[in-house]
Amino acid sequence: MISDKLKSIILRELNLTEIEISDETIAKDIPGWDSLKNFMIILAVEEEFGVKFLTEEILSIKNVGDIQKLIDFKIRNN
């Protein structure tokens, strides 16, 4: 499940007010989510959740659910 915090970061970075986001949502589905925004979202997630992803982990992200899983994984192992 996507946390509200993650959802609000995504909306803010994309300058959107509301949009349907599920675990399976991929960047392509959402207007304005290009590779540039992708990095901005990753940076914002890292900053606000206090985590840091490896290059490999960033590359493995396929959908929004993957971001959440990574966050949870990092927080558990902190």
Binding site: L36, F39, M40, L43, E47, F53, L54, T55, I58
Partner: protein, 559 residues
């Protein structure tokens, strides 16, 4: 305003924050960025989008470390391959082409830094000279900025030493996205670009109003006495000494200094006269509000006496109470939160992003003296019963001169920043002015005013456009510095323009007022000088209908 970014890395990461920050210039910013792999293609192809678009501003951000990285060759000294050398030569050629082909644009170029991951550690400087090589490139780039007048250098190297690569870069993105900058890096880089844009557009404050106790010196003079305040050239008193030096530095750049302090005048006088470490003297301050009145009132009066807007003032005070009071009542005034720690005062002041210049003119160096003399003039004015007698007593001389290389920078500066007496507020850039100079129909004049108190320097500009077909001389712009408003100088200038039209054999003079929120002081200039309104804000004067007279208190010298 079209702004183009040319870069060999993914600089588009910067654009979100650039767009947000550039909004304060109240210009519509339209960004053109052809992609990092298009850098040379765009420049070496004269038909490229870049040259078709002709952006007003170009930022060139070329990170040579991308080229050096895979081209290090330790058999050479500097340890780089021929290929890297050629690429960098090509880069300089490219900068030159952009400067020449976009001769009416302004080109900002980042200077170079050496990524510490490429440095040869203890070998550097002792055996290899990679750092030295980069320094040389920076010197070469500096020469460019004096050779080409539309190139400005951005000191990226200094930004990186200030914050450090570890704080600004994230190497994951270097590999994933061809950009090293992290969030903090993007933030600081866009701040740096904004400072330069502000310098280019002439967006800056004019005046710093400072408090005294715990600001210019440590302690409270009225309680502690002159022997006990903290101010010296060593120890903790040096923090205040250095703060004064930083203020003096701004003074020398033409920023007006004033005092706004709750204190008794005679106690403060003693500090100015007797304290051995007072860097700033009384004469550095154009206005001194040293009394027990409310600071809000004092600041309003300061603005009035200097004839500048409240929004031109930066107020520095250690007291949060005073700062909040001013913020609340005078939101136009910029009130930065001075750090609590005096050792940070000087660097805080230097880093304030309100006073960005690319060039200084003679007039900037003299500005403070001029404002101080003006305050003296005002004092004298009150001793005359009518204004004509007062103006006569000034013995004003007006020198009118067609633009030349010496007056050019000051003329551009006046065009860029004069708000109040500016009939049309057309913000011609340096390059616009160069273009006008090269035609016959445009004539650009500057005028300076001197009187018995001293020389005011160049205080105004007017731009005339002659139209033979309609037999008219159009006053495209008429600009006068606020510091000489109220001396009827406009009458002398219009007299000169009238004579010019006569000399050229033209039938009429036309002029326009384009109202802005700030240009009220010039709205009636044409009406007061005998022009007739042909429609709203459009004015005309038919030469044969009128014989204007030059008021007897002026002497005009036309050069």
């Amino acid at each position: 305003m079209k702004v183009s970014f040319l870069s060999n890395y993914s600089i588009e990461f910067l654009f979100d924050s650039i767009k947000k920050k550039f909004a304060i210039t109240s210009k519509d910013i339209e960004i053109f960025y052809p992609g990092f792999n298009q850098f040379f293609q765009q420049i070496f192809n004269s038909q490229s989008e870049l040259f078709k678009l002709k952006p007003e501003i170009v930022f060139i951000s070329f990170d040579i470390n991308y080229n050096l990285n895979s081209n290090l060759d330790i058999k050479n000294n500097p340890p780089i391959s021929e290929q890297a050398k050629n690429q960098i030569e090509q880069l300089f050629e490219a900068i030159e082409i952009v400067s020449e082909k976009l001769s009416t644009s302004t080109i900002f170029v980042d200077n170079f830094y050496l990524d510490s991951t490429l440095s040869f550690g203890t070998l550097e400087y002792n055996y290899f000279g990679l750092e030295k090589f980069v320094n040389k490139l920076n010197n070469q780039l500096n020469d460019f900025s004096s050779k080409f007048n539309n190139i400005r250098i951005i000191n990226l190297n200094s930004l990186i030493s200030k914050f450090g690569q570890k704080n600004l870069f994230d190497y994951r993105f270097y590999y994933l996205a061809k950009s090293k900058w992290n969030k903090k890096g993007l933030e600081e880089l866009s701040n740096l670009y904004l400072s330069h844009l502000k310098a280019y557009l002439g967006i800056r404050k004019k005046c710093i109003a400072v408090d005294l106790d715990n600001t210019l010196w440590g302690g409270i003079i009225g309680q502690d006495g002159i022997e006990n305040i903290q101010l010296s050239n060593d120890g903790n008193g040096k923090a205040f000494y250095d703060f004064q030096l930083a203020l003096l530095n701004y003074y020398n750049q033409g920023i007006i200094l004033t005092i706004c302090s709750k204190n008794s005048g005679n106690v403060v006088d003693e500090v100015f006269q007797k304290h051995p470490y007072m860097v700033l003297k009384q004469e550095h301050f154009a206005v001194k509000k040293i009394n027990w009145n409310n600071k809000v009132e004092n600041l309003i009066e300061t603005a009035k006496e200097l004839n500048i807007g409240l929004d031109s003032i930066v107020f520095l005070d250690d007291s949060k109470f005073e700062r909040e009071l001013v913020k609340q009542h005078l939101p136009q005034i910029e009130v930065p939160d001075l750090p609590e720690e005096p050792s940070l005062y000087a660097s805080f002041l230097k880093e304030l992003d309100f006073f960005n210049f690319h060039k200084l003119t003679d007039d900037d160096f003299k500005r403070n003296e001029t404002y101080r003399l003006n305050v003296e003039r005002k004092k004298e004015e009150s001793s005359f019963s009518n204004i004509q007698d007062y103006l006569r007593s000034l013995q004003m001389k007006i020198e009118i001169k067609e633009i030349d290389d010496f007056t050019f920078p000051r003329i551009v500066q006046l065009i860029q920043k004069t708000n109040q007496f500016n009939t049309t507020t057309k913000r011609y850039t340096e390059n616009d002015v160069i273009k006008m100079r090269s035609t016959d129909e445009w004539n650009i004049y500057s005028f300076s005013v001197s009187d018995k108190f001293g020389d005011n320097g160049i205080v105004g500009v007017f731009i005339l456009k002659s139209d033979r077909q309609n037999s008219e001389l159009n006053i495209d712009s008429f600009i006068m510095s606020c510091r000489v408003i109220g001396r009827e100088i406009e009458k002398a200038i219009l007299f000169f323009i009238f004579k010019k039209a006569e000399e050229l054999g033209l039938d009429k003079i036309t002029a326009e007022i384009i109202p802005t929120p700030k240009n009220e002081p010039c709205r009636d200039v044409y009406k007061d000088c005998g022009f007739e309104a042909i429609e709203e804000n459009k004015w005309q004067l038919v030469i044969k209908n009128i014989k204007p007279e030059l008021p007897d208190y002026f002497q005009i010298i036309s050069l």
